[in-house]
Amino acid sequence: MVAAAEPLQKISMRGSRRRNEEAWLGLAFVIPIIAIMGGLVFLPVVGTLLDSLYRIDPMRAGTPFVGLGNYAATFADANVRQAWFNTLVYVVIAVALQAVGGLGAALLLNKIQRGRRWLLAVLVLPWCLPPVVNALVWLWIYNPSYGLLNGVLQALGLIDTNRVWFNDRTTALFLIALVHVWRMLPLTAIILLAALQSIPKELYEAARLDGAGPIRAFRSITLPLISGGIAIALSQSTVFAFNLFDEAWILAGTSLDTRTVIIQVYMSAFQNLKFSFGMALSVLAMIASLLVSLVYVLKVYRETRYE
């Protein structure tokens, strides 16, 4: 009895030692990740949440607890309200244009056989360039005196005199959103292209044999089968448009007409040194951004849960 038990115990001990080793190795591999993400993301997030409840302002003595005072102050601030509205306009324009343009580009690339690799490279190029450089290139295109936009529109006879595009608020918002769309459309197109390529070709053949035209096939096969991809693409473009900073900052700086929430956070914290006000606003922006990206997060959660 005792003699028989011993080897069994040995085996299970060896097994548990191996599992122990595995656990230690696993921990060793992720400890740098825990350190970096913990120190530079999780702690600062907690810090933001806590500090937004105090008055932290290098210009004023003391850091008294003010509860939700900073949050109330952001709601009372007319500039902040304007920034929220601008951000909303950017999101609507960017998501709409990217959905339509991205779907068009994805359908085109899915159809094309010859030279697809090169067309794909052309498509993704704007996404790969530094957003600041993009914005500067477009700033020159929008230049009121010597810009390409005025030049082309005059050559086409659509306008007779040069326009100062950023004098008009609606135009300015649209032109800034357009630069953002130029950069982000490739991502939408790539996500939708991946979805399109997962549709089995046989479905289209079956539809054709049943006498369905291309429009009918698009509506009853393509659209339903890429709806998952569309959801991801839409939430991605929403989050990115929501966090728009570079384009608006380069093209119009601190102008109230085009200022986004993130620009407002940057100005409050790093130009006016109202740290806790900036933190409260950034928490609100994070919550709003999290809510709109919930689709994406839920998908991640669903995928990781079953293991």
Partner: protein, 292 residues
């Protein structure tokens, strides 16, 4: 019959028009920046619309590279010391954060997929969830933290922030790469007595090379294009990258669109090279990162 061939021709014309539209949309602004950078300063201020400069000149580039420089007839300080320093800063911070991010993701994602350790699922979900946390939410506490650590305006500080920002996506991508890999190869190596680490280094990582390259490209491009982080954390030329320096050509010292476009063209050379030569990995990485 003729109606069908007509509609086919119409379809082909439509496709060709769509391709042309995509080419003009994607490449037009970049082409225009190139044209501007090659146009002599005087011609930039002409009303005439030209798709290629009448007398192309490298004057703007000479201004960037020259020891002396002039702006509107006045001798001004050369921009080369600033430009070269910023270029080096961009390269150092982008390459360093790419190497560290990819290395951490290569080992970390392997642990998340193949090694059982306590808290594995929770940690992974937490790290990936930070993809949804915008960078600016952590910016202010991070700024105070970096000041207390004396890491403002240092390569170490900027690189660490980049790594913390780009690591979640790289982990996500590498995890999907390892998950797609059959475990039988590793099991065969273990049966032959190879250790875990040896198997990972010699068998798994070489097979994961396309995924590693994709993560490296995505990380490099994100770091190379960063603007808001260095705007706060790189106030001087000690670490200031091109993305922060180039806008200053227009807003502060000069109003010099030619110089700005020339600098912009040089700043997009690394991303353009990546797109030209490694586009396959980039697109597959984007597809895996965005849809998995």
């Amino acid at each position: 019959m003729s109606r069908r061939s007509l509609s086919r021709i119409a379809g082909q014309v439509g496709t060709a028009a769509a391709v042309l539209l995509l080419l003009v949309w994607s490449l037009g602004p970049v082409f225009w920046a190139l044209v501007t950078s090659l146009t002599p300063p005087a011609d930039l201020l002409s009303r005439e619309l030209r798709l290629w400069p009448a007398n192309p000149s490298l004057e703007h580039y000479a201004k960037l590279f020259g020891a002396t420089s002039s702006s509107q007839g006045n001798a001004v300080q050369s921009v080369w010391p600033q430009f070269s320093a910023a270029f080096v800063n961009s390269l150092v911070t982008s390459l360093a954060s790419t190497v560290i991010t990819v290395a951490l993701a290569a080992f970390g994602a392997y642990a998340f997929v193949r090694l059982r350790f306590p808290g594995r699922e929770l940690l992974f979900v937490l790290v990936v969830a930070t993809l949804a946390i915008p960078a600016y939410t952590v910016m202010i506490p991070l700024y105070r933290l970096m000041i207390s650590l004396k890491l403002i305006d240092t390569y170490v500080g900027v690189t660490l922030i980049y790594v913390s920002a780009f690591l979640p996506l790289a982990l996500w991508l590498m995890r999907s790469v390892y998950q797609a890999m059959p475990i039988s190869l590793e099991e065969a190596a273990w049966l032959d007595g190879a250790g875990r680490t040896y198997t990972l280094m010699r068998i798994v990582l070489p097979l994961a090379a396309p995924g590693l390259i994709a993560s490296a490209i995505l990380t490099f491009l994100s770091a190379w294009g960063q603007f808001m982080v260095p705007l706060v954390f790189s106030p001087t030329l000690a670490t200031k990258p091109l993305t922060v320096l180039i806008p200053e050509f227009v807003t502060r010292n000069y109003v010099d669109y030619g110089l700005m476009n020339a600098a912009g063209i040089l700043a997009i050379v690394p991303p353009v090279l990546l797109v030209l030569f490694l586009n396959r990995f980039l697109v597959s990485g984007l597809m895996a990162g965005a849809t998995k």
